[in-house]
Symmetry: C2
C-alpha cells in the first residue's frame, strides 16, 4: 500500500519505519525540510516534502501532528486525497476530533496508539514501538467496513493489539487512567509549592525518594500536552476531577475522625484496585521484555 | 562498639550487616527464633535471641520494629540498658516518638534512614543499603553532644548522608514528600473505582501505561504502613491535605473556566517544582548506580 505520514516525530516516524520495512511505500510530509532529509537518510520514508499535495496518490494517510493541529491539518489534506483514501490520526482524544473531521472526510477513522518513550522527534523513531501495545481505533456508524478492515490489518502488521471502541468510550477511559493522573499529580506539586518555611522545603528536597518521584512524574511533564488534553477531553476530565474531590474529602474526613479501621479498608481497596488495573499491563510489559 | 538491633527485618538486618562488617559486635533481638537463626547463618549478627535482656551490655541499641510497636518496645528495652547506652530507632515519624520515648530514656535520639527496597524481612537484608542515602537524626535540647557524635559516626560508617533536624521539622517535610503522596495516590484509585460502566472499566484496564502505574504506586502499597503514618503524622498530613484540596479546587476552576493560559502557567510551575525536588536526588541515584 501507499501510506502517507503527516508529521514525522516519534510516533509518525516509528509507524513509517515499521510499515516501510513491511513492504509498504511511504510518503512523508513535514513542516521541516531537515526532518524530511533525516527521515530519508534513516530509511524511514521513500519520498517526502513539505507539501500536502504529495499525498495525492496515497491509499492511507495518517495524521501524526499534535492534538491542536489535527483538525486544521485534516482540512488542508482532504482536498488532495483520492476518493477512497482512508484518513486516520494518532491523537490522545477521539470524540471531538472524529466529530470535526468526519464531515470533512467520511473515510476518517480515529486512532490512538498507546505507545511512546520519553524521547521526541524523528531521531527518536524506532522499529517495533507498537509491538504488543494497545492501538485503539474508533469507527462510527458511517465507517465503511472494508476501510476499517484495511486499517485494522495495517495496525496488526505493527504487532499492536487492536481495540475497537466508540470515540466517547475511549475518551472516558483515558480520562481516568491518563488525563486525571496528570492533574492529580500537578496539584501535589502545587500544594508542596505553598510551603512557606524554607527549612522545611530544603529538608523535603533532600529527602525525596521514589514515592515522590513516581507520584509527581506526570504532573511535572510537558505543559502543552497536559493543557491540550484538558481542553479536548474537558467534560470527561472534569467528571473524573469531581469524583476525585469526593474521594479526597472522604479521606480527609477519615483522618480527621481518626477512623483507622475505615482508613485501613480504604487502602486495602486501593491495593486491590491497583492489582486489577495492573495484571494485564504487567503481562504485556513482560512480553515486551522478551522480544 | 557493641550494638543491639531489635527487629531483624530489611532495615535492622541491613544495619547489622554493615556495622558487623565494619568490626562492631552485633546482638540481634527478634520475636522469631527462625529469624535469629537465619541472621546467624547469614553473618548478620554475632549473637541473639528473643529476650530483650540480651541488650544489657550494648553501647547502642537500635529499635527497628514497626512504627506502632516502637514505644512499647522502648519501654520493654529500657530497664535492661546500661546507664550511658544510646537508644535510637528507624521510624518514619519522629516527634510523637521522641516525645514518648525521651521520658523513658534521656539517651534516646530519633533516627530515620531514607532507604528501602520493595522486599521485606531478614532475607532481604543487604549491605550498603544506606550508602549515599539521607539518614535523619533528630536530637533535642536534652541530647548529650557526645552521644549524638557517637551515633553520627556510626551512621557515617554506613556511607549515609547524616541530616540533623528538629523532630517536628522532619515530620513536616516527610508529610509533604512521603505521606501526602500516599493519600493523593489512593484517592485516584478510589475515584476510578467509582466508575460504574463496565465497558469503560474494561477498556481503561487495557489502556493503562506507565503514567497510571507511577501515579498509583504508593496509594496501592502496604495499607498498614499508610494508616500508621496517617495516625502518627496526622496533624502535618492534614495540613498537607487541606492545601492539596485548595490546589485541586483551583485546577478544577481553571478547567471549568477553560482558562488555558492559567492552566499552562500552572503546569509550567509544576514542571519547575519537580525539577527543584529532583536534581539532588537524581545525582544520588546516579551515584548509587555507579557503586
Amino acid at each position: 500500500m501507499h501510506i502517507g505520514i503527516v508529521g514525522l516525530g516519534l510516533i509518525g516516524g516509528s509507524l513509517a519505519l515499521d510499515w516501510r520495512r513491511g513492504g509498504h511505500r511511504i510518503t512523508g510530509v513535514s513542516r521541516s525540510e531537515t526532518t524530511i532529509a533525516i527521515a530519508g537518510e534513516r530509511g524511514v520514508i521513500d519520498q517526502g516534502g513539505t507539501a500536502v499535495s504529495l499525498l495525492a496518490g496515497c491509499d492511507v494517510v495518517v495524521l501524526c501532528v499534535p492534538l491542536d493541529r489535527l483538525v486544521p491539518m485534516a482540512a488542508a489534506v482532504c482536498p488532495h486525497l483520492q476518493p477512497d483514501a482512508i484518513l486516520t490520526d494518532v491523537g490522545s482524544v477521539k470524540a471531538p476530533l472524529v466529530e470535526a473531521i468526519m464531515p470533512l472526510w467520511s473515510g476518517f477513522i480515529g486512532g490512538h496508539p498507546m505507545a511512546g518513550t520519553a524521547e521526541q522527534g524523528i531521531q527518536a523513531a524506532q522499529s517495533q514501538l507498537f509491538r504488543q501495545r494497545p492501538y485503539v481505533l474508533t469507527p462510527t456508524a458511517q465507517t465503511q467496513p472494508q476501510q476499517l478492515a484495511q486499517l485494522q490489518t495495517l495496525v496488526e502488521e505493527l504487532g499492536a493489539q487492536v481495540l475497537l471502541c466508540d470515540p466517547h468510550v475511549h475518551d472516558r477511559a483515558v480520562a481516568w487512567i491518563s488525563h486525571l493522573p496528570i492533574w492529580v499529580s500537578a496539584a501535589l506539586l502545587g500544594a508542596v509549592r505553598q510551603e512557606s518555611d524554607p527549612e522545611i522545603i530544603a529538608l523535603a528536597q533532600q529527602l525525596v525518594s521514589s514515592g515522590w518521584r513516581d507520584t509527581t512524574r506526570v504532573g511535572g511533564g510537558n505543559p502543552e500536552l497536559g493543557v491540550c488534553l484538558a481542553h479536548y477531553n474537558r467534560e470527561h476530565l472534569l467528571r473524573g476531577l469531581y469524583q476525585y474531590r469526593q474521594e479526597l474529602d472522604q479521606v480527609i474526613a477519615m483522618i480527621e475522625q481518626q477512623d483507622m479501621t475505615a482508613l485501613t479498608t480504604y487502602l486495602q481497596k486501593s491495593q486491590r484496585t491497583r492489582t486489577q488495573f495492573e495484571d494485564r499491563h504487567q503481562t504485556q510489559e513482560q512480553d515486551n521484555n522478551h522480544i
